[in-house]
Symmetry: C2
Subunit: 792 residues, 2 copies
Amino acid sequence: MITYHQANGAVSLNSPTSMPNACGFLWNKKMMIQMNCRGYAVAQFMQPEPAKYAHGPALEAKTFMQPEHPYFSHHPGRFFYIKDNQSGELFSIPYAPVKQATDSFEFIVEKEKISWHITHLDIVCELSLTLTTTDCAELWQLNITNNSGRSRDLSIYSYFPVGYMSWMNQSAHFDTELNAILCESVTPYQKIEQYFAHQDFKDTTVLMSDIAPTSYETRQAAFEGEGGLNNPDAIINRALASKPAHYQTPVAVMHFDLPLQTEQHFQANFVFAPVKDKLEAKQLQQHYLGSPEKREKINKQYQEYIAQADQQLSISSPNKEFDNFINHWLPRQVFYHGDVNRLSTDPQTRNYLQDAMGMVYLKPDETKAAFVKALSQQNSSGKMPDGILLNPESELKYINQIPHTDHCVWLVICITAYLDETADYEFLHQPIPFADDIAPKTVFEHIELALTFLWSQRDQRGLNYINQGDWCDPMNMVGYQGKGVSSWLSLASAYAMRLWSNVAKSTGKASLAESLLQQASTINQVVNQHCWDGEWFARGITDAGNCFGVSQNQEGRIYLNPQSFAMLSGAIDNNQWQKMKLQIKQQLQTPFGMMMLAPSYTHMNEEVGRLTQKFPGTGENGSVYNHAGAFYIFALFERGETEAAFELLHTMICAESEANALSRGQLPVFIPNYFRGAYFQFPEDAGKSSQLFNTGTVAWIYRIVIEQLVGLKGTSKGIKIKPQLPKSWPELHVCRRFRQAQITMQVSHTTTVTTQQVWVDDVPLESDANGEFNFDVLPKQTYRLKVLLPIS
Amino acid sequence: MITYHQANGAVSLNSPTSMPNACGFLWNKKMMIQMNCRGYAVAQFMQPEPAKYAHGPALEAKTFMQPEHPYFSHHPGRFFYIKDNQSGELFSIPYAPVKQATDSFEFIVEKEKISWHITHLDIVCELSLTLTTTDCAELWQLNITNNSGRSRDLSIYSYFPVGYMSWMNQSAHFDTELNAILCESVTPYQKIEQYFAHQDFKDTTVLMSDIAPTSYETRQAAFEGEGGLNNPDAIINRALASKPAHYQTPVAVMHFDLPLQTEQHFQANFVFAPVKDKLEAKQLQQHYLGSPEKREKINKQYQEYIAQADQQLSISSPNKEFDNFINHWLPRQVFYHGDVNRLSTDPQTRNYLQDAMGMVYLKPDETKAAFVKALSQQNSSGKMPDGILLNPESELKYINQIPHTDHCVWLVICITAYLDETADYEFLHQPIPFADDIAPKTVFEHIELALTFLWSQRDQRGLNYINQGDWCDPMNMVGYQGKGVSSWLSLASAYAMRLWSNVAKSTGKASLAESLLQQASTINQVVNQHCWDGEWFARGITDAGNCFGVSQNQEGRIYLNPQSFAMLSGAIDNNQWQKMKLQIKQQLQTPFGMMMLAPSYTHMNEEVGRLTQKFPGTGENGSVYNHAGAFYIFALFERGETEAAFELLHTMICAESEANALSRGQLPVFIPNYFRGAYFQFPEDAGKSSQLFNTGTVAWIYRIVIEQLVGLKGTSKGIKIKPQLPKSWPELHVCRRFRQAQITMQVSHTTTVTTQQVWVDDVPLESDANGEFNFDVLPKQTYRLKVLLPIS
């Protein structure tokens, strides 16, 4: 059912009913579109806040991107009706709104293009969408070929609903000069300041074609009539009314009459876009509806833009599906995050930093620029804000208005990763200002302040206050009275201190290094003293003084994150690990990955807060939350638990058996932020995909693949070689670009060695005093590595 | 096509396609529901802010009630599918979602009940909705009778979509104890304060029946399947899946199998309601799903509640449609406004005061209470706030966050009307506190402060500043720099001063009376000096010093309100009136009533503001804005222009010729806030109804009918008799309750008199020195008036 075209990394789906939510997404710096295989679309652009140019027919709430998006017949989408005027038969592509079964159906998601190949009534329909490198504009191409061996009389109708644009003003008309339907509106406002803020808004949505339509309709209700979307009244008459919309809900319907001879072919190109005015529409027309050669060039540009992502790492393992994901889709998703910051103007600080961390493997300069921006918004107390304001006009919104306590942790973790990958230790000396008005300090000093701040925000026991939440946003009542503490945050602080201790050491600051190690050790000790529940760590201690996430809890008995970070921070001994790993597996592992906590809360717990009001198994309330799962995988690899780590990695990415694919409704073109959890409580629903591709997961998975699975991790002078291959892989071939050098590596499992052996350009590489295989890398060189691993 | 059942004031419609937007509305203190003839619903309840218990399938924006509401297939509604299991035929009532043509269709809007009588496939279906006196609960009754002369095998499915309740938590399940589908959710929030504010929210929507269903479905998508709403997959199998919804969009579908013998009858009663929890649902069940006698009693209570409105005035004219509206629907709409304040917790001050003014003819004590509340929120400077906060937790929202300059004017105008109707001059001595902390002052002193404030807010010319808007909300750029002025507001201030001068005079404050008259005269003079454009008054002068609403303007050349208020304030002489009335008629009158301004603005005018960005012919931008129209009618009657006034009154209420009815899509059960205007610019769209029944119009129209058309206006001791009948009416019979007395009046046009003649209980009544016919009214008395009017 699902076939992968390895050549270009495309994946395709052969039936719209088997996986009705299958979708792909495209983006550029200014916009993002998620296309569902049936034709439904979720699209946003920035002006500068996220905005829509096609709406539902009701007034829609502005909100952050929602998981498990429920599509319905009037959801925005991009469709064409095709009518055989001789037989009266009608169908629509891609599938909705008519939802007929077609003779063949193929939904193809390529990295830079989403397309459909559909055959029905002996007509071959090819529909494709791509974006441009810089503009907010969808480029659609429709190809219709008469394959029937007889001449045909067809009518084609675009159905691009634009929806309820504005209660203040909306209208639509056809412009003959542009061959376009312009749907105009005024974004509603009441405060006069907003008028000035809205002046450059792209309040017009345009559908333009390179073919003049025979007739058109701009009014949604007049188009549908009594027949509704599955059989619109307007189509019965063939020619449409060709009337403007005056305040009625607009729609962009263009009608083309096609008398097609045998084998004759029809092609139309469309631009669908938000614009400020007709002038801007005209510019888009000139850019994107020109000659085939011009279009070809534009498509190539966008292809190159997207291809930036997958030229850094290529692996060839025995699992081709896995390879396809790692080589094409994973870096693409990592690039998306680093490129557009989830289409927000105030990304959450922890997301912003981790998304930037992922980008270090693709475009390290952009990572550095992001860190500079984040650090310049740090307070001189060391505290980081809840969101990073990307523009001067940006403001903190939604959850970023609630103070969280963990942001400093991510600063340390992510900048350490940057240093490993780039060895850009010069960066540490760069002076950067603060949000408040004190004199700039170096990056190193900024980080020291962050660590000092974390150290200061602890209670008399020595545990970090959680206040209204840490990484777990909705855990808002654990410590809102100023007393509750977070074991996770304490352990994450300890981990950050250990990481920075290494940096301090390698930059010659021995006493700081020692003091940080000492602090980390103190915290680890305190967490063990107050939060070790016997077989795992509690999640924290509430304002009322109760440990939670412990064996005596009926719900929320065990949380994954404290365990993963205890592994990373060095808080556990082997005895603890042996106990923990059994409990983690037994209570948290599902066929879809690791649950964030279990059992999911089924009703409000006022000592924990909003988290416990979320639907069980969704979001933070016990879903298979991939971001948390990634940390567990990362920690497992760190501990050398290669088999367990790889199993979970593989599950997250590739467990797309047909049955799972059907129930998850998701092709493996991205990792969603969660799969439904609550596996033991609601088994029927477990494993459903959130379909939300915004997630901190991917930066970590990419890092895990590069630094742990492939085992090529940057050091101050070069690279450390330590592949961690699962037993089931006899071999792995790797190409990696690294600091302008080109590295190829062949890893083989063999019975002929008992410890890892490495050759660089056929010369054996000796391990150092710690048993590590390090070698220096120079720019513009090529290195050919060969690694033999023992079969244990 | 439209038939009126005079007996109970009901109106009915015989086809869902002829007037697809026909609707009725019901309300009680806690909720409001507008039912469309096809089954779509707009319903809100208060908790304390307006909230919804049935949603669209997408996240909906919270907003004030919108005009020209666009319905679509997934809009919330209340529907039943009916399937003949022998033939497989399927239809739905009322009409959507299947939208079949039925053998017969009747949509009946009564004052306290909305119902449908539908016959199809030899099945008689009766469906009705009523509300309760105090609870937020819809009471539905379904009656199915087998009229076919043969036994039938039917299945009935309720389809009550509940929609996207919450991204945080939503679920649904069937409760066997209650015979109910409970759709539960958690209203999303992020700030911890909101958790405490939400604790009593009715986040559960319940559908309960007095009949146990055969099977049920709670999941919208599972119900629809591929077939969609017009042919849901779930119905194909007869029995539904009977499964709970876990985070999927919920729906309340109950399936009843009906093996019906010839003439056999099925009845089911349903309660559809928002509740806090199952306990509250159980209470509703006990109250409303009891014995038929209990239900009868509840229906009677609600009937009596609504009937309070139409026991004050009854007229019998030659126009029965007009009478039906005046006797039943108009007071009902007036009562609705006074009863529930448009379901807001911060009604705009000018709306709140005028809605209260309408209530004086129905329940004067409630009017008084509203004035007390409004006055207690006045600032000691005399300034009134932009909205009246009804609860301690209320806050100013939407447009009430923008300061407007006209609220004091309405205080004076509305309290004067209260004094006229009640003669409650004691009220003027009642001490009332201020919003700021100074000592309480009497109502009279409050009003004096309001007038002093208006007098103080004038520029060096003596014209009132408009700042960010006056009655015309979106005229926000005329004076936002602090310089622009409003001729309307100046004239309205002068009118208010003249009104209060009369009150001062009749309460023995001669010098205040004189000084107010002098101020009014000064303002009138200044307006004439600066704003008289030759044939009409300008609307104002902008910050840049330009008069607008004048002959040299291409758009917004003439505004109605300054002309009406110049008539009321005494600013014009007869010469001006002769010029004005021609221009008003020529430029502003349409077959649907008076446009607020003309020509409508078609693009932004930065000297006028947001008004000019509204769609031409809608809202304040040149629609037939009935509230403005009412003032012109009021002013015409005041000037004795009876024929012109009555023509416009009749147009507003009764111009429901079939053609208009079709284009307006509105039965005359309420006056909408506007009909589309821009009559000369967009003639095709002109006359469409906004369908929005919240409007200050109705208080004025009711006052016009009582005090001017019928001509029974309260005075300090009794009543002044001055009917202003159109020539076309030979006779009018009137019954009026007034200050606990009962007055009947018969008015006749006759050639036998040359001036008005009056008899009270067959005794001739002499006119006073001013030629007025006044007589004293005592409580609990009955008066029989006879009036002869000359045919002029």
